[in-house]
């Protein structure tokens, strides 16, 4: 290999004249985390609502939930990104469209919405699976005790279901962080985009990508460890041996494949 390695490149000033390459990568990391965080809030909110809707006895609600999930799951994220960024402003009334296009940081807001709704369909799938994995008697018992359906969800089903869902939701959150790299296609300078930019400016391609890879792995480890602690903190003592049993690999794969 006649590639010239230069690990000192990170401390050199980039062509923008003010920041080192390391600083640019850190800005990228910040935008990646921001995008993923706000998208995750949308994903969790909409995903929970839609996931719950799919388990209710109401035909219209569950039908709407199913259609929602199918719509967002069967179109590639990149295409959804383009739809929100290029197509949506043209389909709304002109004044709104112009306002949207002139919004500062519009690629960030668009990216958050697109990524959030895309992830919400996947969260909805996990929420539905979590609620359905509870013993059927729990719902019946809640209703038999005179709780209304919303109360049964609030006090009986959801507290248990969310504890079961924590591990799959953790991996969905990590997916959201990884998928935030797709927002670079509409111009957000997040971590992958910064690494790409650094490789174009400095020709130190492999150093740039190695740095980005390590940063993603570190984020991954921090999130996994944080969620593990959360899981331990929320576990009900004495319930399932005080620890929530993680679904086995086989069960996880079944969950993904079969709806």
């Amino acid at each position: 290999m006649n590639y010239r390695w230069n690990w000192g490149i990170f401390w050199q000033v980039s062509p923008d004249g003010a920041h080192t390459y390391f600083q640019l990568l850190m800005y990228g990391t910040w935008w990646t985390l921001c995008t993923a965080f706000f998208a995750w809030i949308i994903a969790l909110t909409f995903g929970s609502l839609v996931g719950v809707a799919r388990t209710t006895p109401n035909k219209w609600l569950s039908g709407f939930g199913n259609a929602y999930v199918e719509l967002f799951r069967n179109i590639p994220l990149l295409v959804q990104m383009f739809l929100w960024y290029f197509v949506m402003p043209e389909l709304v009334p002109d004044s709104v469209g112009t306002w949207l296009k002139q919004l500062p940081n519009s690629s960030f807001y668009t990216g958050v919405v697109a990524l959030g709704l895309y992830s919400s369909a996947r969260v909805a799938e996990q929420v539905r699976a979590g609620i359905n994995s509870l013993p059927r008697g729990q719902r019946a018992a809640g209703l038999a005790m005179g709780l209304t359906l919303p109360q049964t969800y609030r006090y009986v089903l959801l507290p248990n279901a969310y504890r079961i869902m924590l591990p799959p939701l953790t991996s969905e959150f990590i997916n959201t962080i990884k998928n935030s790299s797709v927002v670079l296609t509409i111009g957000l300078m997040e971590l992958t985009a910064r690494a790409r930019e650094m490789s174009e400016y400095s020709f130190q391609t492999f150093e740039a990508f190695t740095a980005a890879t390590i940063i993603y792995i570190v984020i991954n480890i921090i999130v996994t460890e944080g969620m593990r602690r959360l899981e331990r903190g929320l576990a009900i003592p004495g319930y399932l041996g005080g620890r929530i049993k993680k679904p086995s690999l086989l069960q996880r794969m079944r969950l993904r494949g079969v709806q």
Binding site: M1, R73, N74, L78, V79, T205, R254, G257, V258
Partner: protein, 230 residues
Amino acid sequence: MFSDFDFNVIYRSLSYLFLDGMTFTITLTVLATLIGVTWGTALALMRLSGFPPLVLFAAGYVNLMRSVPLVLMIFWFYFLVPYIGQWITGSANPMRIGAFASSLITFALFEAAFFSEIMRAGIQSVSRGQTAAAQALGMNYPRTMAYVVLPQAFRNMVPVLLTQTIILFQDTSLVYVLSIPDFLGAASKVAQRDGRLVEMYLFAAVVYFLISFAASTAVRRLNRRIAIIR
């Protein structure tokens, strides 16, 4: 708002979109799946082999691929593969590799990590008694795997493997970042040439949706049938 739609632009570019773009996308999906499943199965066997160096290698490979975004991996391989090619062939300059080969290598190696997790679950779903029975019949490890364990593992995992293939089909749209004319890339080229972003992107979304939805409905049906047989 739909009044100034120009559906003609879709009609005019149909042959480019499907004969060039979609052919690229489908070929990439099919080949990457085949290579990915093969390599993924090999990784799963390594991981379950109990031989520490192989276990470590397979676990490290799978975890690395699973913690890095696909977009970053596409960039990695796009720049790395020419150097690896040079290293293998011993030529003086980095090897020139076409867009198709580069993206095929990327997707095959990346998705292999996910296929490997599926196959690992599949192999573990085959009961221990099966392996014991094969060994009692005097079969060695490769035969046990080839004739007893893997066929059942594949069969158990067919729906999940197919679902992963649908995900792969959607993921191939990301080769857009290398300006490769897959289906979305082709649509995007026409969109920018004719200034018809709305029509082309909506059309692309509809096509992706129809294919993925039809495929996942078929997988669900297949799954129900297999479930009854079992």
